[in-house]
Subunit: 605 residues, 2 copies
């Protein structure tokens, strides 16, 4: 693959087209959605679904990786009049791990001057929300979240258990503003990432999922990472974290951000560590601060900051079965021990806030002490750190910064809810963003499943975003197929959570697919599924012929045993008979009603 | 593949050997377990795990499909002196769907005279338990369930939420007897299946899983089905249901039962329907009764009987989105409507009990009206049938028959617990045996995952056995890989449930694997996992070299970013410093303790 013109996955999904809904407060905004058409025999409208895939699935838009995506938010940001462009930091050799010549990933062809807040201004969505301003970003996410709910106006039946969440029947832009203002939701939207299509992360909105990508010292290139990002959002990733730790971190990230319609998150500590040659003890505030500014200027939308790893918590991890499993957490723990002092992240947290505030970089407060095994779940170290994350949340809020909180990890089912409840209590309902959790340790190779179980449950309990886990977790680096499997698994978990929470529109897609199933509309069944290609290919393995896609029986049972086919006969019968009446007669008893004891009296002819 | 000598999967799993524990009450019993050895550097004993795979994984036993497995239970059964051998029913052409010549699957070479209870005797484990008799089967399952618990004697810490289950610290044969006597557990063990290694299904024991196999009108042969059964138990299936619906049902089943160390379940209605040419209306009690006896003589251990589909419940399904999705349920509903009467299963239920009682065939009371979509979950039809299953349970118990109850289906997370609670209340704590449930309808191709989520949860809530769902569900017939994926997914769900319920020994394997992970014992990590082959191959995709299997860093992060490696440095540091003391100092405060507000005062050098 040519690094300069990577081939990326484009084109619509089967039977799908991109549609846009316009704003009213802000008529210039166009909110993308995916419309899935169904067969005319269904006599149903098409199904509209949430669509984070960006212009790559829109054949009417020509995308070019070298040009990057349209900077449609630029005007919204400029109009607010509170930012200024400046030359910005110069790229240094250490930003790319001193890669040179052949090994150096080329710079992204276009260089835009970065924006930052004018002196004294806070340019965060939180600051605007508190000021009572409904930004285009807020109206955008309101329309986006609402999808489907219009058609339910009036005939809405709520059904679910939301554990204290307050999911509205209809999402107004004002509701979004309120939720952001009280810190219960965030809109990660760096002013230097104008290519992004705004999305919201909060307990009262659709459950979101994150996919991790990134190269490592061991493998992969810019082209692969850009394609991985586009591939992940094609299947439904709402945000993408670039966890690169190898060379060329700066340049690879630039290519990713310029081409990403979803928020990009990073762990700045990884790049900072590369800049000091991988020696944790050599890290210092200057190098770290420089890295924050570097990434903020590039447009990174949220930073994972492991500021909750306090010096006196480290001893609490010593007796653990798996110690500290967060990379950032272990790096900071090592630094703290070596220098025998609190981490510079904790000590400089307010300055970090000042930087985030000037670019609207959201915080993802890292759980550096999360458990790495069932044995270590919900232990003293984990919950001590959570308390500190609660403290830091208040400091960030005081600085008008948007915050979410990272959560575990490995947790058996009976200990999952405690994590959610404690987080809500300690962190003032700031959005929770969890990795899994994995509900058992015994299935390496299947940790998308061990964690998908925990993710669905914690999503139901109130987690706002689920960080995916791929089948390669603990074993290796995910390839393209692993990324897809991880994303689909987490879309399942997130959707199962939305259903259980009673999200008003969540059931629309389930019902449409179930009707298609019952009416043997095979094509619709494939097209309405999360992964049409896989559904179709599995069906075709058993019944390859086109004819079978209109067959009125299930390929699993064959005609004689198709329960659904028989159900249709029953329904026909019912119309003939007037079942309700019939049922009454039977319920009333009579000669057809045989109490079980009279078995012998009842020989059918 | 030659139909007469099918190649089946044999040989031990990596680093594993078959061990046997002897009985004390019944010294002749030898309970098989799998011992997984760990690397000597671990300084740990081997890990012993539950093993349903039978002699196929024991290199010291020579297996031959034509001979079948050793009939080790024969002596136990004969010794009881309450059974007699007889000629039994003659195989008829319709038993094999009138298959002839090339299309006829050859008969199993050996024909044993079937056993049945002597006049008036009940030969069920329930009858013995009620009589205060501890059978070899009961001691066998006690030892089998106990596995691992011995080493916990004394140092046992219970940790879990069991929702009213009473899981003992240690399982005695007497405890097994009591649980069976009160109907809270079953030991499916047809006296004509002496090849089986007894297992128990009940809320106070390990959660079990079932794998479905079976040919259909459309595809597959005896050789494939026997291999599918052996393949399924190799990966952990505790029971196998033969759901064949095509030709050769009788002969294929004979090959399966004679070679199966696990209980075999069936849905006799499927074969009965084949005998009447697939016309539901033509079914009648005689043909059905004949089929029950045919299968009881072959040694089928449990029957799914859809006797809960009452005539007046059928109208309740007419407004459903997906009608009736149980094959058996839809067939009986059609029969009931056509004849305008209660089903012969309901009316002849006591006679069915008399047959089961004479062979010890356990009931799996079928949920013919289970929901087939999220929209239909927990509806009137489903719960009406459940009430009837409760009635039938009492009748079966009065006849000394063992009973479990089948459950849904498709259920969103927030409606799962209601299913468990109602079943426990209505069916007198008879074991619950559920299909999934699937927690969303939108992911055909991934329904092992949509259902694995629901299975883990309902298993935690108290379901005794989980019927697997493969990736092909709704789309096609599972192949070898689908069967394995389904089994592993359900082993994960069952184990996650055991952990959450606080099963005393469940955590042993998680902890052993986690220690291996933390100590970079890669081989142990693979060998202790549910699927060593997949774990190893995933690892090798990223780090193929043998050297990397002793590498002291995680293949995902590379050396510099390996949190576990850093944790070891921290632990070393800790030993040097005496962390506990250190921690105290910090907690007490002092110059190292920097409140976050003094950020500036704290520049590291």
């Amino acid at each position: 693959m040519n690094a300069l013109t990577p081939a990326v996955s484009t084109g619509p999904l089967p039977a799908s087209r991109k549609i846009h809904e316009q704003g009213t407060l802000h008529p210039q905004i166009r909110v993308p959605m995916r419309e899935i058409s169904v067969h005319r025999t269904a006599g149903e409208p098409p199904v509209t679904v949430y669509d984070p895939s960006g212009p790559y699935t829109d054949p009417t838009v020509e995308t070019s990786i070298e040009k990057g995506l349209a900077r449609h938010r630029h005007e919204w940001i400029a109009t607010r009049g509170d930012v200024e462009a400046y030359d910005g930091r110069h790229v240094r050799p250490e930003d790319n791990g001193f890669a040179t010549g052949e090994r150096l990933t080329p710079e992204f062809p276009i260089r835009n001057r970065p924006l930052k807040a004018k002196q004294g201004k806070a340019v965060t969505q939180l600051a605007y929300a508190r000021a009572g301003i409904i930004t285009p970003e807020m109206e955008f996410v309101a329309i986006r979240e609402n999808l489907g709910r219009e058609i339910l106006q009036g005939k809405l039946q709520r059904d679910g258990e939301a554990f204290g969440a307050s999911i509205p029947d209809f999402v107004t832009a004002e509701f979004v503003r309120e939720e952001v203002a009280r810190g219960r939701a965030i809109i990660p939207a760096n002013i230097n990432h104008p290519e992004s299509e705004p999305m919201i992360i909060g307990r009262n909105f659709l459950v979101k999922i994150n996919a991790n990508i990134g190269n490592s010292a061991i493998t992969s290139s810019m082209a692969e990472e850009v394609e991985k990002m586009i591939w992940a959002i094609r299947w439904g990733a709402d945000t993408v974290m670039d966890l690169s730790t190898g060379r060329n971190i700066h340049n690879i990230r630039e290519w990713i951000v310029r081409n990403s319609p979803v928020p990009i998150g990073t762990v700045p500590l990884y790049q900072a560590l590369e800049k000091v040659g991988g020696i944790a003890e050599d890290l210092n505030w200057e190098v770290y601060r420089d890295t924050l500014i570097e990434q903020a200027e590039q447009g990174v939308d949220y930073f994972t900051i492991h500021a909750g790893v306090r010096l006196h918590y480290i001893p609490l991890t010593v007796e653990r079965v798996t110690g500290i499993v967060s990379r950032g957490g272990s790096i900071m723990a090592k630094w703290c021990l070596h220098h025998h002092r609190e981490s510079f992240l904790y000590e400089h947290f307010e300055e970090i806030c000042d930087i985030c505030r000037a670019y609207d970089v959201s915080f993802s407060l890292g759980d550096g002490l999360r458990p790495g095994s069932i044995a270590d779940a919900n232990d003293a170290a984990q919950f001590a750190e959570l308390e500190t994350l609660g403290e830091l949340t208040k400091i960030a809020w005081a600085k008008d910064c948007q915050v979410m909180i990272e959560g575990p990890g490995h947790v058996p089912m009976h200990k999952i809810k405690e994590n959610m409840d404690k987080q809500l209590a300690v962190c003032g309902e700031a959005p929770f963003y969890t990795l899994g959790p994995l509900t058992t340790d015994i299935a390496p190779g299947y940790d998308h499943i061990t964690s998908g179980i925990g993710a669905a449950m914690i999503g139901w309990f109130g987690t706002a975003m689920l960080c995916y886990v791929t089948p390669k977790e603990h074993l290796g680096l995910p390839d393209r197929n692993d990324v897809k499997t991880g994303v689909i698994t987490y879309k399942i978990a997130a959707h199962a959570a939305d259903l259980a929470k009673g999200h008003p529109a969540a059931k629309i897609r389930d019902d449409a697919l179930s009707r298609a199933r019952f009416e043997f509309r095979w094509e619709d069944q494939f097209n309405l599924s999360l992964d049409p290609e896989t559904a179709r290919s599995f069906h075709d393995e058993t019944l390859p012929k086109e004819a079978h896609k209109v067959a009125h029986f299930c390929s699993m049972c064959g005609p004689k045993f198709c329960s659904m086919r028989i159900s249709h006969d029953i329904r026909a019968e019912a119309q003939k008979e007037g079942m309700a009446a019939m049922a009454e007669k039977y319920r009333a008893g009579g000669d057809l009603y045989m109490p079980v004891r009279d078995a012998d009296a009842a020989e059918p002819s």
